[in-house]
Amino acid sequence: MLDKELRSMIGDVKGGRMDRRAFIQHLAAVGLTAPLANQILALGGVAMAEGASTYKPTKRGGGGALKLLWWQGPTLLNPHFATGTKDQDGARLFYEPLACWDPDGNMKLVLAAEIPSIQNGGLAADGKSVTWKLKPGVKWHDGTPFTADDVVFNWEYAKDPATSALTIATLRDITVEKVDDLTVRIVFNKPTPFWADAFVGAPNTIIPKHLFKDYMGSKSREAPTNLSPVGTGPYKFVEFKPGDLVRGVINPDYHMANRPYFDSIEMKGGGDAVSAARAVIQTGEYDFGWNIQVEDDVLLRLEKGGKGKTVYAVGGDTEFIALNFTDPNTEVDGERSSMKTKHPLFSDPAVRKALSLLIDRESVKKAIYGRAGRTSANFLNGPEKFVSKNTSWEFSVEKATKILDDAGWKPGADGIREKDGKKLKLVYQTSINGPRQKTQAIVKQACQKAGIDVELKSVVASVFFSSDVGNPDTYSKFYADMEMFQIPLSQPDPSQHMRRYLSNLVATKENKWQGTNFPRWVNKEYDATIQAADGEMDPVKRAALYIKANDLMYEDTVFIPVQHRLKVEAAATNLRPVVSGWANETDNLFDWYREE
């Protein structure tokens, strides 16, 4: 029904009988709001909307200094080498992508002149290529014109393994061709429904060919411009001290009218999130603080009579508890959690169901995440179009107890349930981080009431997330029964996110635990669904497939979503930052200004 309705509406928009805003409002009414609503239109044959701008200033400059506080400062400024978002954030001050994402998940043009669509010939109907028109007259900070050669160069630069660029993952499977000086075509090797990955967003900004062409491959680290970027962005580079400071001044020749507002920019690094919140909200020493992961009551206290406020951005980041489908305590061929084993307790679906009833998401929200969290039953929480409405969650110790009783798990002498000599004892691991340890405590308490003994374990983040094959405590080895963390959704599309859990991607000793399917969950139906979605060009059917994939995970209780997390930033009261849950904090920096 929805399918039909959508289709006729798309037709209305195309024929001019319905305006775009009305279309999006209709989608909102049926629960399909925001981010990819516009991509529905794009693939339905209507051009993707450019995000509306809230920018008010009518002249360039005059805004004084903008002081940003990143409690982990950028350590390098070449976007291709960025190991974390902090580096991308720093590089994004100077370098620009073709387009970026606004807070609603709409595309905003930066270096591109128009959004590719089927009408304007930018988008191939078979989804195998996309053609970008570049904005004419854009100049690098040193005066050299920006052309299609620069875009092609970035692809050649990053796809060479000797360069050791991290963007290789995005760029190695595509071909980038120059059509003319201001047109590039990206050719995919298979139909690609989500075509806005390469050269879009802060992780994929473009570096100048004329300054990097002599430093390709193994010479990449010798490039002097690695540390002193020459970009096309609103600010020109002044100074960089790794981990401490990045400074820039206004680019008087910036290609967007009346922008930027600020005369200079400073990004200070170091310290911790709480004191960063203090420096922005309480003392007003800084205008903007990044990633303020601080308990909500601390923030509320700081905000009382302070000089700043917190700013939230909704994206698709889910904090989850993953259940191990293999046995972490039996070693087979030198490997625990081996695919040759089955988890002794979780192989009973009743235990998994009971556990999901024991996670008190509302309390976790109230006690820990506050305004920065939303409860959810889904693993996939965005973009809105992909969020399942078929699921629900509840917290009920009684129901959990009943399920366990019915399944034959009876309390033993020590109060811990057991069946066939197997006791319900679980090891629950996560990375060291205040909110995570508190969540662990809440879960442990509820489990105890239901007769499940939970042992808590926390691992330093740099070990937990490392790819060190020799370490037993990494999340991918998963030598525990359950583990909790989050995998950020870095773009308004779930394809890469959901592909991680294909059966052939299980993390094993054989692939050095590089496989992304760490719960070691195998489901043929899921595989088929994801593969179908990967090649599905019809946006409505594609969304339905991802919803189905999410529901399959829900049925099997692979992940127990703990919280849908929002981005939290701190900003001076009069600052008007534009922060998107689908992009890096500095991605929309050209639209920031201060209310007089």
């Binding site: 350590t75 390098l76 070449n78 190991t83 974390g84 393994p161 050791s164 991290l166 290789i168 993952a169 995005t170 990955d197 992780p203 680290r221 690695n226 100074e239 001290k241 790794p242 981990g243 401490d244 400071l245 400074r247 200070k268 690094g269 170091g270 310290g271 004191s275 203090r278 420096a279 003392t283 020493e285 800084y286 330093v460 983040a461 740099s462 070990v463 937990f464 997330f465 490392s466 790819s467 060190d468 020799g470 370490n471 405590d473 990494t474 999340y475 991918s476 963390f485 989050q486 995998i487 950020p488 959704l489 870095s490 773009q491 890469q496 996110h497 991680r500 050095k512 590089q514 992304t516």
Partner: protein
């Protein structure tokens, strides 16, 4: 004298080698890798991170990595930061001036407090002044710097709003304004570090003075009719300062260590905060280099202490 210094320097070589070997092995055995942030980035497949590990030689056996490091070090190459992809020596040199400025000022502040207070307390032991000085000294060295640092921030930045608590390396403005700002932002970190040092040093100066002040030659000097001031400064202090100088020299590396915490609290971009962030991101070449610099400092200041001995006390001959 120069022969002595030379000999001491030569002896330092094997100890530095030993230190570097231990450091390297400990760091190599430490878990984690510099690419952990990539793990949860859905855009970066794990094989990319693994290729980087291989490229940076993280998968080589430890002895090979050590030999590589040693060889490079002998050629003056301090290595290459995995995280910043730049040379470690540039990184350290960039941050050294700030650390020297803060630590140097703190040490001077400590001396300016400790010597007069300690000397005066020793000349009037168990007087009211002595009691107060002692109590404050006890309080001072029992409070860790991370506590006093936060306390200072709460009082002087948050409540009174007098001083900034984020240290910036580039202050806008020139001339006198620049100097004043530089001093203003350094007040809190320098006070935190300096007072902590001063507390223990005061106690030490006092007891060293008390040891000397009771000696017969002091009584003799007084009997000769020399004024109290001259007796204390010329006769007592010179001898009492010998152990104090050693203490100060040997404490310098510890001051660097203490500065690590203070630098983190006040966001001072010095070597200490570089060390912390490098440890957190498992950037081994940087950690190695910074800790090695600290090791060299210990050896160097030991040597300086010995040389100063000979200068202060001619009876000690250096051979």
């Amino acid at each position: 004298m120069s022969q002595y210094v030379l000999r001491r320097l030569l002896i330092a070589i094997p100890s530095l080698l030993g230190i570097s070997l231990v450091l390297f092995i400990v760091l190599a055995l430490a878990p984690g890798d510099p690419f952990s942030e990539l793990a949860t980035n859905p855009n970066v497949p794990p094989e990319v991170a693994l290729a980087l590990r291989a490229k940076f030689g993280l998968d080589d056996p430890i002895y090979l990595r050590y030999l590589h490091w040693l060889n490079a070090m002998l050629h003056g190459d301090w290595g290459f930061s995995f995280v910043s992809r730049m040379n470690v020596d540039t990184l350290i040199l960039q941050r050294l001036p700030t650390t020297l400025y803060v630590i140097g000022s703190a040490q001077i502040l400590a001396l300016l407090i400790a010597i007069p207070v300690g000397v005066y307390a020793a000349t009037k032991p168990y007087s009211l002044f002595d009691q107060v000085a002692n109590t404050l000294a006890f309080v001072g060295f029992s409070l860790p710097t991370f506590f006093t640092g936060i306390l200072f921030i709460l009082i002087f930045s948050v409540t009174l709003d007098w001083l900034p608590f984020v240290y910036t390396t580039d202050i806008k403005g020139t001339g006198i304004h620049w100097v004043l700002e530089m001093i203003r932002q350094a007040i809190m970190p320098v006070a935190v570090l300096g007072l902590f040092q001063a507390a223990s040093m005061t106690r030490f100066v006092r007891s060293a003075m008390l040891d000397v002040i009771r000696l017969d030659y002091v009584t003799t000097a007084r009997a000769k009719g020399i004024g109290q001031r001259r007796v204390i400064i010329k006769h007592v202090m010179r001898n009492a300062m010998i152990p104090v100088v050693t203490l100060i020299a040997l404490q310098i590396p510890a001051v660097f260590g203490g500065a690590i915490v203070t630098e983190q609290i006040f966001r001072i971009p010095g070597i200490g905060s570089l060390l912390i962030s490098s440890i957190l991101s498992n950037d081994t070449p940087v950690v190695m280099a910074v800790t090695f610099v600290f090791a060299c400092l210990v050896v160097l200041f030991n040597l300086i202490a010995d040389v100063l001995y000979g200068w202060l006390d001619p009876r000690i001959s250096l051979r």
